[in-house]
Amino acid sequence: MRPFGYARAPDLESALTALVEPGTEIIAGGTELVNWLKEGIAAPDRLLDITALPLDAVETTGDGLRLGGLARMSDVAGHPAVVRDYPVLAESLLSAASAQLRTMATIGGNLMQRTRCPYFRAETLLPCNQRDPGSGCAALHGDTSSHAIFGWTPECVATHPSDLTVALAALDAEVILRDAGGTRAVPMADFYRQPGAQRQRPTTVEPEELITAIRVPAAPSAHRSHYLKVRERVSYEFAVVSAAAVVELDGPTITGARLALGGVAHRPWRLPDAEAALVGVPISDATAVREAVARSFTSARPLPGNGFKVELAQRAAVRALRTAGGVA
C-alpha cells in the first residue's frame, strides 16, 4: 500500500473544501477502498475520513425516506420504517455481504463500489479498462459467465455488484450530492456511466462531491415489493442475477409495476417495456406476467459464456413480481 496523508473531517464544510484538492479520496466504512488501497487499484495522496460527519440518520419524511450517506447497511436494514414500508430495500441489504461487512459499510460507499469482474483484481495482472484505462478487456476474450447481458460496450462487460442500488432503482430513488457550491440530485438509474465514456469516472460523482443522502420517494405500493437474489451459494455471495419488484394492485390486476435487475449490467437495469406491458395483467396469471417481462429482453445481448442469464433473469423478475404481489 502506498503511503498517504490522513485527516478526519470535523464538519461538512471543511470536508468539501478538502475535496477540491486533486488526489483526495474519501473513506467511510472502508470495506471497498481498503482493498483497492492494498492492491494498488487506488493510490490517493490524501485520505479524508468522513465518519465524524453527522450524515448517518435514517429519517421518514412526509414525502418518503431519507437515508444518510453514512448510515450503515445494518442500521438501514433493521430500521422499523424500512422493514415495514420498503421490504425490497431491507431484503436487498440483508442479502448483501456478511454481517460484519454490513456493520461497517455505509450506504454512500455501497453506491461507490466499482463495477468489476474477476479480471479486475486478478492476481496476475491482466488487461482491464476499469483497473487500467486503455489496457483492454480480458473478459471479452475469456470467461464471461458472470458478466453483463445489457448495456455493455467492448470497453467493459462487467456488472455492478451492489444489491442495494437495484432496490433503489426500482423505488425511483435519487442520490443527493453536495459540493462547496451546492446540492444536486441524480436518479439512481443514471448514477453509473456507460463503460467507455470518461473512463476514469465510473459514476456521475465529481471528484469534489460527496454523497450526503439517498432520497426514496413515498409510494403507497412500496410495501408490496420484493428483492430476489439468485446466487451460487445461499449466503455471502454476489448475485448471478437479481430482481427488485414494486407492484401496485387493484384487486387481482396490476395497475403499476417497477422492475430493476442486478447482475446483468454496469448499473441497476430498469425494465420500462416490461413495466408498461404489465399494466392490466392479472398478477396470478404467470404466463401473462412472463410475456410482459419478456418485452424487455428482446434487447438482451448475452456474451458467449452467459446466455443462461437471459432466461434466469426473466424467471427471477417473474418470481420477484409475483412474490411482491403476494401470489408466489
Binding site: Y6, A18, V34, D49, S98, A99, M104
Partner: protein, 161 residues
C-alpha cells in the same frame, strides 16, 4: 485541515489504552498483531472475505483487516483476548469447547467474536438463522455443524441466564 503522515492514536483494547504513533495505512489487524503482540486475532485472507479477524469495535462485530487503525482512535476494541474473565471462559468459548466446534482452530477466534455479537444482536434464534448470520466466518476444516450447535447452545444459555 491538516493531512498527517503519522497520526497520534489512542487504541483502547480490552480496557487498556495504548497511545501509538501510526502511519495511516496500517490496519487495526496489523497493529494488534505486530505492535501490541495481541496475536489472537488471526490474519486469514486480509481482504475482508474470511472473517478470521472479526473483533468488536464499540460492541459491534467488524473486520480488523478492513479497518485502518487511525480510524478507531478512542473507540473501545474487544479482541478474543478480552473475552474471558480471568480464568473463566466466556460462555461462547465454553460452548465451542463443549461442542468441539473446531478442528485446526485458526478461524476460532473470529468465529467466537462473531458468535458473541450474533447472539447479542438477536440473530441466533434457530440453526437456519445462525447459518445466515454467521456466513461471514469461513471454516476450512468445515466444522460448521458443531459451530452452529455451539452458537445455539450459547444463545440458549444467554437467554436462561
Amino acid at each position: 485541515m491538516r493531512f498527517d503522515d503519522q497520526v497520534m492514536t489512542t487504541l483502547r483494547v480490552n480496557g487498556r489504552a495504548y497511545p501509538l504513533e501510526l502511519e495511516p495505512r496500517v490496519t487495526l489487524l496489523d497493529v494488534l498483531r505486530d505492535r501490541l503482540g495481541l496475536t489472537g486475532t488471526k490474519k486469514g485472507c486480509d481482504r475482508g472475505e474470511c472473517g478470521a479477524c472479526t473483533l468488536h469495535v464499540a460492541g459491534r462485530r467488524v473486520l480488523a483487516c478492513m479497518t485502518l487503525a487511525v480510524m478507531v482512535d478512542g473507540a473501545e476494541v474487544t479482541t478474543i483476548e478480552g473475552m474471558a474473565d480471568g480464568d473463566a471462559l466466556h460462555p461462547v468459548q465454553e460452548a465451542f469447547l463443549r461442542s468441539d466446534a473446531f478442528q485446526c482452530g485458526f478461524c476460532t477466534p473470529g468465529q467466537v467474536m462473531s458468535a458473541a455479537a450474533c447472539i447479542a444482536e438477536g440473530h441466533a434464534g434457530s440453526a437456519a438463522e445462525i447459518k445466515e448470520w454467521m456466513s461471514g466466518n469461513l471454516c476450512r476444516c468445515a466444522a460448521y455443524p458443531q459451530i452452529v450447535t455451539a452458537v445455539q447452545e450459547a444463545a440458549t444459555r444467554e437467554v436462561t441466564r
